[in-house]
């Protein structure tokens, strides 16, 4: 038997069409970029790029809209969920998502995020928790860890006077309007794969009209954490995950049987 094996070139990965040709402004190694890529991949796989409207936050990802090829609006700091509500209510058949940092979502935007969850607003939220205000140069966020040094907690976050880390996924998943609320991490390929599945499921939640969906993504900020890129991944894994466990907090029964 002549065993000649014919081969062919396969594309294992190429830049998804939902990403634009603009290089990001993120610091090298910042995992914001990974989150962007995953969103783009999911929208392309679902073939909903042309039906999607993104809502950018104020934070390092303020220019997120430059890095995608679909429609975006840019919200006031913390108000992306309200803006998304306005869009989704008038265009219920579009996919509307917000992309928000922890300062944006958990500090100034607390009210808006709580209420979209409470109302079961049929939008998706991608929540980048990097335990810091990245854009403004490293101030304490509500998600900063106890003892974490930031420019506004120069001696480390003292929970007695500066408050305790907020667990947004835990809290939001308690709202009756929540359809899908999970936490994932971006610090290694395995977790990135899981993060992508979660984003896919979140958009599926929206597609099925199951209410509020959110994927919290643990993310790094090597610049403001004052670390190398590699150190920041390790710090995330060793310090953030124990505080913010990777977990499914709410999965609507309407997703039963959905597999990514």
């Amino acid at each position: 038997m002549d065993n000649i094996m014919r081969t062919e070139v396969q594309t294992v990965y190429s830049r998804p069409p939902s990403l634009s040709q603009t290089p990001t402004h993120y610091c090298p190694g910042c995992t914001h970029g990974i989150a962007h890529r995953l969103i783009a991949e999911v929208l392309d796989e679902m073939d909903i790029r042309e039906k999607t409207i993104g809502v950018a936050p104020v934070g390092c990802s303020v220019f997120a809209y430059n890095y995608f090829t679909f429609d975006w609006v840019e919200a006031a700091h913390g108000r992306a969920p309200a803006m998304a509500t306005g869009i989704k209510r008038v265009l219920p058949d579009r996919f509307v998502f917000t992309y928000q940092g922890d300062g944006d979502l958990a500090s100034i935007g607390m009210s808006e995020i709580m209420h979209v969850a409470g109302r079961g607003e049929n939008i998706t939220v991608i929540f980048i928790n990097n335990a810091i205000f990245g854009m403004t140069g490293g101030q304490m966020a509500p998600t900063s860890l106890p003892g974490q040094k930031t420019t506004t907690s120069p001696n480390g976050r003292d929970v007695e006077t500066m408050g305790y880390p907020l667990h947004m996924s835990e809290v939001l998943s308690r709202m009756d309007g929540a359809g899908y609320v999970v936490r994932r991490s971006l610090h290694d390929p395995k977790n990135i794969r899981l993060a992508k599945k979660a984003i896919r499921t979140a958009f599926e939640t929206q597609k099925r009209g199951l209410g509020f969906s959110m994927v919290e993504l643990l993310s790094t900020c090597n610049t403001n954490w004052g670390m190398t890129v590699q150190e920041s991944l390790t710090w995330l894994e060793e310090h953030m995950i124990p505080m913010y466990p990777i977990q499914d907090f709410k999965v609507s029964s309407g997703l039963d049987g959905f597999k990514v």
């Binding site: 402004h25 993120y26 610091c27 090298p28 220019f63 990245g134 854009m135 140069g137 490293g138 610049t223």
Partner: protein, 202 residues
């Protein structure tokens, strides 16, 4: 006396600090002085510059369109500020990152391989002091020794161990300017920005 100097380059090249050192010294010498930063619109790795104005009366504008001198650390800054230096003024160019000579003939200019000189002394980021040394040679608004005293006084505590090399860098820059130091330019072509700047914040 009235002098105005613009320091320009990539963020991270020590542009802002070089201006501050000059300003400190001017203040210590009893002049009025202003230091005014400006950041390019790029989000990171972008340009930054600062304007130092030194005078003996209450300073009006902390910005000038046509400075007496410009210290430029990369090509975009050369392109931008070369045409603006006042006739008779001084232009110091970091030749380590800039491949072309200035075209102006009505100003005094110097191409200085500041990065190579810095690396002779210590870390590359001393290049800002090298260029400042050269500037003060070409535009002697203040004696170099005053600058050194001020630098010693104002260098942040955590950098004190670098004081000696900073002082050396000033000297070597001045020496190069006086033609007393010959250096081969080794780094090739492209500009290499530093990478430590977070996005512009909104």
């Amino acid at each position: 006396m009235q002098a105005d100097v613009i320091f320009a380059g990539f963020g991270g090249q020590g542009v802002l600090f070089a201006g501050q050192v000059l300003a400190f010294a001017a203040m210590d010498a009893g002049h009025d002085v202003t230091w005014m930063p400006s950041y390019g619109p790029e989000m990171r790795g972008g340009t930054a510059n600062c304007t130092v104005v030194i005078a003996d009366e209450e300073i009006g504008s902390p910005t000038v369109k046509h400075p007496k001198a410009a210290v430029v650390m990369n090509l975009p800054s050369l392109d931008k500020f070369e045409p603006l230096v006042t006739p008779g003024g001084v232009l110091i160019v970091n030749s380590s990152l800039v491949n072309r000579d200035p075209a102006r003939t009505d100003i005094i200019w110097l191409m200085i391989p500041a990065q190579e000189i810095a690396e002779m002394i210590g870390p590359r980021r001393l290049l800002n002091m090298v260029m400042l040394g050269a500037l003060l040679d070409k535009l002697p608004i203040l004696p170099l020794k005053d600058i050194k005293i001020s630098l010693s006084a104002h260098l942040p505590e955590r950098h004190k161990k670098l004081l000696k090399s900073n002082l050396d860098a000033l000297d070597q820059g001045a020496a190069f300017s006086r033609g007393e130091l010959k250096v081969e330019k080794v780094t090739s072509s492209a500009q290499e920005p530093t990478r430590t700047i977070a996005p512009t914040s909104v």
